[in-house]
Amino acid sequence: MSTATALQLCLLVPLLGAAGIVAARRRPNLRESITLLTAATLLGCVLAVLAGFLHGDVPTVLLAEPVPGLPISLRPEPLGVLFALLASGLWLVTSVYSIGYMRAKRESHQTRFYLCFAIALFGVMGVAFAANLLTLFVFYEVLTLSTYPLVAHAGTPEAVRGARTYLGILLATSIGLFLPAIIWTYSLAGTLEFTPGGVLEGRVGDAGAALLLGLFVLGIGKAAVMPVHRWLPAAMVAPTPVSALLHAVAVVKAGVFTITKVVIYIFGLDFLAGVPAERLLVYLAGFTVIAASVVALRQDNLKRLLAYSTVGQLSYVVIAAMVLTPLAEIGAALHMVAHGLAKITLFFTAGAIYVASGKTRVSELDGIGRRMPWTMAAFAVGALSMVGVPPTAGFVSKWYIIAGSFQNDLYFVLVVLTLSTGLNAAYFLPLIHRAFFRSETVAPKYDHGEAPWPMVAALVLTAALTVAFFVFNGPVVDLEKSIVGKS
């Protein structure tokens, strides 16, 4: 099949899956099989796009043209293909995990859950393969709206309130800052197409460029740069599979992915390098990293701790993108993958602990490593990746980011990275220690062992991938080299 067809299928398959899920709503086993089949098919389509792309086939697929001169179209490029691969692959894993989770907890509204997941993945595919800013914005909003029911899933007053914060912040930033930035870009450059080298060179002065970049960074709320990060901890009211895939991988990565694409393909690395005020945003991202880590230190609720850890890790990617050197940009791309794999493992673990023992707080986790060895081993792998210790994925991406900062003499970044590594260690390592090396202090509600096997299988797989990425990152690096080769 041609790459163009594969591209369109990447969007079509999740939608068809969504329809199938609704049709099968009264037959849970059939419904879940449809989800798994859809996820597997989607992964296949993304691989087809990857294969075509590696052969040099880069088609542009026009979907619609709502405003004359501004098409909604798709085009594969290295960052997008990587993101799509990550999201679709992890959707398959998360679906397995979700089945275990939802059935163990006997959750209600399961059809709505799987349906919204499918639509969210449709949004992710659109974001990943968008050929221009307008297309990206359209699917970005689809992603926000389709994940709202997932956050409010439990239906309890806290869930509704959390979902309101989630939607409020994401829509406020996207309509209030992101959209005006897009329209301003269009009025300056006359186009919104992602172009190597950017489209704004010579069209806007330094002050204007800095302001525009600021609008983008804060408007892309999904990247959770402070102070628009509050939606992430608020979204932790969602069921854990939602937090795992969406708020460790899909939604947040869509945010940093968008920022990276805007920096590379709308502004252009060389143009931005000549804008001194761009440093301010590096400082803002650096501040986010440190502040988020400090707040995480003080969290007792495990999911909230992971949420703040995510906020910090996302700003790693933002910093890396803003360092503007080739190695750092590659580091940004790598960290998208590394963090995605490690964080999803951590969230899977948190969910497994909750399902098996009912525990949600760090202080209750003493000795749980004895009862749930596989789970906590995976947790350890994920935590080590967060800290950046070999042989985990986190080490590779940190290496590239540090190397990139050296290229630019940005010592501020080095300081931030070092400090945050220390902070990450400060809240993750004690947790691992108490899980394995302390005896149980808080009795669980009932005697338990590991979580249901689909959940354990999923988290072991992602932990393994985290380690595998350390070894097999060559192809990914080669793929991403091309984004900076041309700019």
């Binding site: 307008l134 939607l167 309509i175 209030g176």
Partner: protein
């Protein structure tokens, strides 16, 4: 058909008394629906002709303009006529079921007669090229509106209608004064002829006064802040079908009238150059957008909330037209069409709710997401369009509006548009939350009948279709804007 231009007004006008005389409920409704579909077909044909020819003229009674009354159809009028046709063709089938419940049996014939008179009046305003003829049709449509609103179930419909009567007649009389003074200065009532003769006398105090009366009178009809006080109650307490029809058409036709007066009769140079109308209209538009959206957030009744939202959206249109550029006028006309689609869909959805629940208090909507899924889905879709989510018509018109403001470097306007969009998120999402996430599903409440859902969903789907394929709407709006600004003599 060379008489099509006048037939499009005459047919509903003649069918109206026929409806009043016919017995029962079904027969008048059938006649009214058939007439509305004929009007839709006629206005579509006329729009196609205008696409080719540019301007269509028709002399009533064979008397030549400027002494005779001339019907003049250009791109802007064709656009609004098409809009009225579409909305009437969708709302009248809806009315068949909803009016059966809301209107007393002995008044059914009169109800449909008044609806047809309303449609005829609105079409007449757009079709004619004579300033006084506009007044006549304006009053025809207004009188039928007062009558229709008063037929609402809640007794507050009566006081709402009375207040609208007083304020509306005041506005129309102001318009009359303006036309009279212009006639005194130029000796003609034909709008094209006025445009030619005005520049010679434009500097006199009489003409300035006339313009003031004209604009204030029309702004009363538009419900531009702060002349909007009649609108919330009128929209909230009218019968469902009436609410949908007037929300989607009345203020739009009034905006069209303002555009016609300001751009065609007065001309861009006079209105925006000498009179500096821009600043006044801009300021009022922005104030309206922000305050109305803010007030909408706390309304206890859903239709009243939508009414305040309409006041804000009218502000968008006036914003666009006060920019005095092709881009601004295109945005205004585009939003005119798109808002009619959005508000029409939302009011029809609320009509479905009222059909089952008897009222539309927001607190009563708890749990409706499960009990009336199609209805609430229609509301959510219309709400997304109102917010301006991409792939809906709301996004397209907002895009053009912001682009037009940026073209003139007017940053504060962009901020105002964005702020009121965010407020729209607040008041739409309030309803979504209550309907879907609060309270158990209601038993005893069934989904609305398909005769109500079908028209609602036609408008909802139009929101999405025309949000993706914008060639028709944007094409018409651009052509109209270029004709209006380019052709000023």
């Amino acid at each position: 058909m060379e008489h099509l231009q006048v037939l499009v007004v005459v047919i509903p006008l003649l069918a109206a008394p026929l409806c009043a005389l016919l017995p029962g409920r079904r027969v008048p409704w059938l006649l009214a629906t058939t007439v509305s579909w004929i009007v839709l077909w006629a206005s579509a044909l006329l729009a196609l002709e205008v696409r080719e020819a540019g301007v269509l003229t028709y002399e009533l009674g064979g008397w030549a303009a400027p002494w005779g009354i001339e019907y003049r159809l250009d791109a802007a009028s064709a656009l609004v006529q098409l809009l009225i046709g579409v909305v009437a063709a969708v709302v009248l089938p809806f009315a068949g079921t909803s009016a059966a419940l809301e209107i007393a049996p002995e008044r059914q014939g009169g109800f449909y007669a008044a609806l047809l008179l309303l449609v005829a009046g609105l079409l007449g305003i757009t079709a004619t090229g004579d300033a006084f003829n506009v007044f006549v049709f304006l009053e025809i449509s207004s009188l039928s509106t007062y009558l229709l609103i008063a037929l609402g179930r809640d007794r507050r419909a009566l006081t709402a209608s009375f207040r609208y009567l007083i304020m509306g007649t005041l506005g129309a009389t102001f318009y009359l004064i303006g036309v009279g003074l212009l006639y005194a200065m130029t000796g003609t009532l034909n709008m094209a002829d006025l445009a030619e003769r005005l520049p010679a006398v434009a500097d006199t105090r009489t003409v300035h006064t006339a313009v003031a009366f004209l604009v204030v009178g029309i702004c009363l009809k538009i419900a531009l802040f702060p002349l909007h006080l009649w609108l919330p109650n009128a929209y909230a307490y009218a019968p469902s079908a009436v609410g949908a029809l007037i929300a989607a058409t009345s203020t739009k036709v009034a905006v069209y009238l303002l555009i016609r007066i300001v751009y065609t009769v007065l001309g861009v140079d006079f209105a925006f150059g000498q009179l500096a109308m821009s600043s006044v209209l801009l300021a009022l538009a922005v104030l309206g957008m922000l305050t109305a959206s803010a007030v909408a957030v706390n309304q206890p009744d859903a239709r009243r909330m939508l009414a305040y939202s309409s006041v804000a959206q009218v502000g968008y249109m006036v914003l666009g037209l006060s920019l005095a550029s092709v881009a601004g006028l295109t945005a205004a006309l585009l939003h005119l069409m798109n808002h009619a689609l959005m508000k029409g869909a939302l009011f029809l959805a609320m009509g479905c709710v009222a059909y089952r629940l008897g009222g539309t208090r927001v607190s009563d909507l708890a749990g409706l997401g499960r009990a009336m899924p199609w209805t609430m889905a229609a509301f959510v879709a219309g709400g997304l369009s109102l917010i301006g989510v991409p792939l809906t018509v709301g996004f397209v018109s907002k895009w053009y509006l912001v682009l037009a403001a940026l073209e003139q470097g007017l940053w504060p306007l962009v901020i105002a548009v964005v702020a009121s969009s965010l407020l729209a998120v607040a008041y739409v999402w309030r309803v979504v939350e209550i309907a879907y996430f609060r309270g158990p599903a209601r038993d005893g409440v069934r989904e609305a009948p398909w005769s109500l859902l079908l028209p609602t969903w036609v408008l909802v789907l139009a929101n999405f279709w025309l949000g993706v394929d914008t060639r028709v709407t944007v094409g018409l709006a651009t052509q109209a804007a270029q004709a209006l600004i380019g052709a000023a003599p």
